[in-house]
């Protein structure tokens, strides 16, 4: 991958990628009680799931989600790929396949030429095609800050989708991508990253979670989510819900080396601190929890709970598929005092 950084996409936005996301606390309060239940809605907005699931009949349910992000890299095509991978990921986190997608674009025409818009959309199309979907249209408006993403429609069996908050006690937790993308997007925005470091981060963010989902599909997955704006522990908190405790081994969590370097420098997005202040009180830990575990990810990996005996073989398979950082990061325990424990 070679990055075209001339477009300087990240320079005209306040915060990069999912680091620009509204905090979890803000959202919970705003949405509370807004939508009534519906018989066909198997998953709605109440459970902080990754995507909604709407039953069409006995064997088919629609999986729908929408997501868009501000630029995380300066190259328009790669930004398009990453934004699309990030949007599509919510469908894969439900264990579903993608059917079609619509573009959502806020275009900053003051700072960028029109040709750049086409490159972004080409990047997005590239990723939709890769997972077997099709782009069927979209909508563009002029905005002071650039954003791009997809409204995605997928399909799944109404009785066979993955929820994010049903982990089974005794299962182990698998993470398929390393952390640090919020820190690195912020460092890209500050022009601190070398080309090699930026490429490594971009490649990880542009990688689709679809292949991991397909490899894990036949296994006894008890819960799955994709790690994005709320960070590993924020999404872990949603997974633990009020039923179990997730125990995460800090030392086992894969974090890109470059992200550690820039975290030490203090290049940490405000969104990651917002995650920390939200999650901290649900957390038990003897030591300090590393800030990277709260880092807001863009297009992060899948966090999956599955039986230990199935994990061994799947790590090798996932690594072969290109998810080279995949590893076990913890386990699901019976409920303790707090839903999260970091050791």
């Amino acid at each position: 991958m070679i990055l075209n950084n001339q477009a300087k996409l990240t320079k005209y936005v306040k915060a990069a990628g999912c680091a620009a996301k509204l905090g979890p606390e803000d959202l919970t309060n705003t949405l509370s009680g807004l939508y009534a239940p519906h018989p066909n809605v198997l998953v709605g907005s109440e459970g902080s799931e990754d995507a909604s699931v709407y039953a069409l009949n006995e064997t088919q349910a629609l999986v729908q989600t929408v997501d868009f992000i501000t630029p995380v890299v300066d190259d328009p095509f790669v930004y398009g790929q990453i934004a699309a991978a990030n949007s599509l990921s919510d469908v894969f986190a439900m264990g579903a396949e993608v059917l079609s997608a619509l573009n959502l674009v806020g275009f900053d025409g003051c700072h960028h030429p029109r040709a750049l818009l086409r490159e972004i959309l080409e990047g997005g199309r590239d990723k939709v095609l890769e997972c077997g979907g099709v782009v069927t249209g979209g909508h563009t408006i002029e905005t002071p800050e650039m954003y791009y993403g997809l409204s995605v429609t997928g399909m799944v069996h109404p009785k066979r989708f993955w929820r994010n908050n049903t982990p089974r006690v005794g299962d182990v937790l698998l993470l398929t991508k390393p952390l640090g993308m919020g820190i690195l997007s912020t460092a890209i925005k500050a022009d601190l990253l070398s080309d090699a470091e930026a490429c490594e981060a971009a490649q990880i963010m542009a990688q689709l979670n679809v292949h991991a989902m397909r490899a894990l599909r036949p296994l006894a997955v008890s819960a799955c989510t994709d790690v994005t704006g709320f960070g590993l522990l924020g999404h872990g908190l949603e997974m633990a819900a009020d039923k179990v405790t997730l125990c995460i081994a800090q030392g086992a969590v894969p974090v890109l080396k470059s992200a550690k370097t820039y975290a030490d420098m203090g290049i940490i997005p405000a969104g990651s601190y917002a995650n920390k202040s939200h999650v901290e009180r649900f957390l038990t830990c003897k030591d300090d929890v590393d800030i990277t575990l709260f880092d807001a990810q863009t297009s992060g990996g899948l966090l999956v709970a599955l039986p230990e005996k199935e994990v061994r073989q799947s790590i090798a398979v996932l690594q072969d598929l290109g998810y080279v950082h995949t590893c076990i990061i913890g386990e699901v325990l019976a409920r303790e005092a707090t839903p999260l424990r970091v050791v």
């Binding site: 915060a15 420098m265 202040s277």
Partner: protein, 194 residues
């Protein structure tokens, strides 16, 4: 010098702090005014990891972070009284060539023994370990034992002992490893190499 980083988005406050610190001489004091949690945490994190002494104080709605560049004073681990915080690093069983070299080494160690303040430790590596494994009753063992009795720590490199197949012949001091050796060398105020 004071810089105002209020209302700046991440990572701007850190970049401004970095720029300002780089423009200042050692021991200078930089004050950074911030008014968000992220900026405060990030600037303090940056300061600590760049070797500054960092303090914070609340100033109304904002936080003033004071960074003292460099180290105000060198903190040297203090040696027990009667000892200098110095390490003798011995790489050979001789000082220079031949028979004379061997005599010089023993003579040198004897002279060390007569000093009022002794080196804190002696580290023997490579052929230096032939000193600590010399035959019982030899001059060099007598001197080294006398040093050890006075409290000088004597270490012999484990790999070197094995290399010369003398690991069972150690008469004085303890076996050291590469990690502790380097740590001792780095922490000692002075290292005298022989």
């Amino acid at each position: 010098m004071q810089i105002d980083c209020r209302n700046l988005e991440c990572p701007q406050p850190v970049l401004e702090t970095k720029k300002a610190l780089e423009s200042l001489p050692e021991d200078a004091v930089l004050e950074v005014l911030v008014n968000s949690v992220a900026s405060r945490e990030n600037v303090m994190r940056f300061g600590k990891n760049s070797g500054c002494e960092v303090r914070e104080s609340v100033q109304g709605d904002a936080t003033l972070i004071t960074l003292v560049k460099g180290y105000g004073c060198d903190i040297v681990p203090s040696a027990p009284s009667g000892f200098l915080n110095k390490t003798l690093f011995i790489k050979d069983d001789k000082v220079g060539e031949g028979e004379l070299g061997g005599m010089l080494m023993v003579g040198f160690l004897k002279t060390v023994l007569e000093q009022k303040a002794l080196p804190s430790r002696i580290i023997c590596v490579n052929k230096g370990v032939l000193l600590t494994t010399a035959p019982e009753g030899s001059d060099v063992i007598a001197v080294l034992k006398a040093l050890a009795d006075k409290g000088v720590e004597i270490y012999s490199c484990g790999v070197c002992l094995e290399f010369y197949k003398v690991q069972d012949a150690l008469k004085v001091g303890v076996i050291g490893n590469a990690y502790s050796t380097i740590e001792m060398l780095l922490n000692a105020q002075d290292v005298i190499s022989l």
